[in-house]
Symmetry: C2
Subunit: 232 residues, 2 copies
């Protein structure tokens, strides 16, 4: 059946995000090279993010606090204040970084919007996500913008109810199998996966069964043709 | 005229918030007493919060990063990693602190909800505000919960449009003249101010003209009688 609403993810589906975190993580590993090698630094940072996720949530500010904790931890409290201040500055740079809309995305969203109502469903820091939506120049194309703290079935269910859409009438498109595809399929909707070269460790789905019938595309521009193809 | 919708603020209107920040600020001043006296520590922290507001937004995580910056700044980078880690721990405690609904608030909200649709309009960290709404036990009473990054006229205008309510049909109730009352009055709505003993420096309105005709009440329980009084 043809959908009644399309949902799009933001970070690493419409605009670059993880690349900035990866760059900062590399600088962080460099900063800690007196104490640990690069792989260990990254591993400890990911462990801190995972541990802090429930309390601090997603986004740059949580990432900054996890970086600071990691620096203190791996240096056995030897790290100095100047280094900590450097981490705080990186957080501000991440918050203020200009939005880089992925090539072809604007045309692809316009193509979708011409056929179906399209909503944005994105998670992370409220202020930062709002400024990314605004900076993307795409805001006016969306029927709704939903910035959420977690992308689980309950969240999608609430959003769809707001729009008066049944899960089976909804298609969610994004780069995260865990956040964009699986919870929507669980509700009875359809997920389309568009992998990004970079995926944050906490979005990886090792050991989670990928549901059957999920389409995997390379570019957002392939979504409309797929949904309109008679074979689909 | 009788309103068609009531809006309530969260922090320091429905539940305690500023008191936790004040307690942490006092501990922070104590931590920095080797370098500055208490008044100066508080002043420098407020200055950092003000400077970082546009980049980092509201909420505990932004507060934590401003505390860390302040510690580094007032100590001329002498502060050690153990002290910084202490600040990070305080941030986590603030995030995890149980919600303390202000006395009489539950009954007052029930009284309002029996007469009008009531929405919550609160700003700050998305995850933290969501967990406070959940923890308050009040969530089911609201027609809508709006967690926003800034409470300005545009934000209120968008929320009212979502509910199909004209500004003149709307009454907003809260402890912040700057965030709860003035922007709503500016749109043509009504504001009711319920001051709290503690108000965050960045919510103070020194030099801003308080609009005429704003009611000032002592308790949320006084709102329904005021709106229903024939003289009103």
């Amino acid at each position: 059946m043809t959908p009644r609403m399309i949902g799009l993810d933001g970070d690493d589906t419409l605009w670059e995000s993880e690349t900035h975190f990866v760059t900062t993580t590399a600088k962080m590993a460099d900063l800690l090279s007196d104490w640990v090698d690069s792989d260990a630094a990254v591993e400890r940072l990911i462990a801190a993010e995972r541990r802090n996720l429930k309390t601090l949530g997603y986004g740059v500010k949580a990432f900054a606090l996890s970086m600071i904790e990691t620096a203190i931890e791996v240096s056995a409290s030897e790290v100095d204040a100047t280094t900590i201040q450097q981490i705080v500055e990186w957080a501000k740079e991440l918050m203020d970084h200009p939005v880089e809309v992925i090539e072809g995305v604007r045309e692809a969203v316009e193509g979708l919007v011409a056929r179906w109502p399209v909503i944005l469903v994105t998670k992370g820091d409220l202020l930062h996500q709002e400024s990314k939506v605004a900076g993307s120049g795409l805001a006016d194309l969306f029927t709704g913008v939903h910035i959420v703290s977690e992308k689980d079935p309950q969240t999608y269910s609430r959003i769809l109810a707001e729009h008066g859409i049944e899960p089976r009438e909804f298609v969610m498109v994004g780069n995260s199998m865990r956040s964009d595809v699986i919870p929507v399929v669980e509700l009875g909707g359809r997920g389309i996966h568009i992998p990004h070269d970079l995926t944050w460790a906490l979005e990886e789905v090792d050991g989670i069964a990928v549901p059957e019938g999920v389409s995997e595309l390379r570019r957002l521009g392939e979504v409309a043709p797929l949904l309109e193809s008679p074979a689909d």
